[in-house]
């Protein structure tokens, strides 16, 4: 397995910005091998970015659950529905004259 050079390590040492960028990319897409090594190195020394990584996953899960359409209980108000139904009925009664 390849390893990072000293320079590459030095570049990642304090780079929480890049690490969190790579975390986002890894959790919802793909990262390259080099990026994965950089991220792993940073995570091995940075507690805060480990916290970020866990929380980022939790946020993803909560968001997905929160907005699942089946769970939603929103109702369109009855007046508006009636009006919609009338609009549809009117259109159905009067076929378009395109034909």
């Amino acid at each position: 397995m390849e390893n990072l050079s000293d320079q590459e390590k030095a570049d990642m040492l304090d780079n929480c910005k890049k690490a969190t960028f790579l975390i986002e990319k890894q959790q919802t897409g793909k990262i390259a091998l080099q990026e994965r090594l950089e991220l792993e190195y940073h995570l091995s020394i940075c507690e805060m970015c480990n916290t970020f990584m866990k929380q980022s996953l939790v946020i993803n899960q909560f968001v997905k659950k929160l907005f699942h359409p089946g769970k939603s209980e929103l109702k369109l108000d009855d007046g508006f529905k009636e009006q919609l139904q009338k609009q549809i009925d009117a259109k159905l009664d009067k076929p378009s004259d395109e034909d």
Partner: protein
């Protein structure tokens, strides 16, 4: 009859029953994605009207519900596109010289922005209070970021599709995704702990 796992369909009964069968569902779908209930209502109306126009051409390979949802989804995209066009200046570059709210020039977290555990890490996914803070934090994102975030996490669109639909480059897409996540997390920390 084949034994399907799905609930017995509201059998596709035609336009007469659309309002009764799908209005609430479509309305909820729109509301969760555009965060403007009046606009959501209008989109539902437009969806039904557009569907009526296209009804004769509907090939019934999918259910009415799926078909209506697809029409609505396109309308939601139009809203996203309009919003992102008016907010192009919110796109930021990864290496932009603009001062970063969260990170030092070295890339390290700024003091006062350090991520701290806030006790949700191992929490069951059932917490109304956390849900409502999450919603409030999502509302605070700039429109384009919110569109990207919503598409990614709620609709699970592929990044290629999102870029195509919103007219973003891939690198801009990831910069925005990153910023949106960092902002959301920070907002949660500030309001939850």
């Amino acid at each position: 009859m084949p034994n399907k796992n799905e609930a017995p369909a509201l059998t596709d009964a035609g336009p007469n029953l659309w309002v009764k069968n799908y209005a609430d569902y479509l309305y909820s779908y729109a509301c969760t994605r555009i965060d403007d209930n009046e606009l959501a209502r209008d989109l539902v109306q437009e969806t039904f009207l557009a569907a009526l126009e296209g009804w004769e051409k509907f090939d019934k390979r999918s259910s009415e519900k799926t078909w209506l949802t697809a029409i609505l989804k396109n309308k939601v995209f139009d809203v996203y596109r309009k919003k992102s066009n008016t907010s192009q200046n919110q796109t930021v570059s990864m290496n932009g010289s603009d001062t970063d709210e969260f990170f030092e020039e070295s890339g390290h977290w700024k003091e006062g922005r350090y991520p701290e555990a806030f006790g949700i890490e191992d929490m069951a996914l059932e917490n109304k209070e956390f849900d409502s803070i999450l919603k409030a934090c999502l509302k605070k994102l700039p429109p384009l970021w919110k569109s990207v975030f919503t598409l990614k996490h709620i609709d699970e669109e592929s990044s290629d599709d999102i870029c195509a639909k919103l007219g973003l480059t891939s690198s801009n897409f990831w910069v925005i995704s990153h910023r949106a996540k960092v902002s959301m997390r920070d907002c949660l920390q500030r309001n939850w702990i």
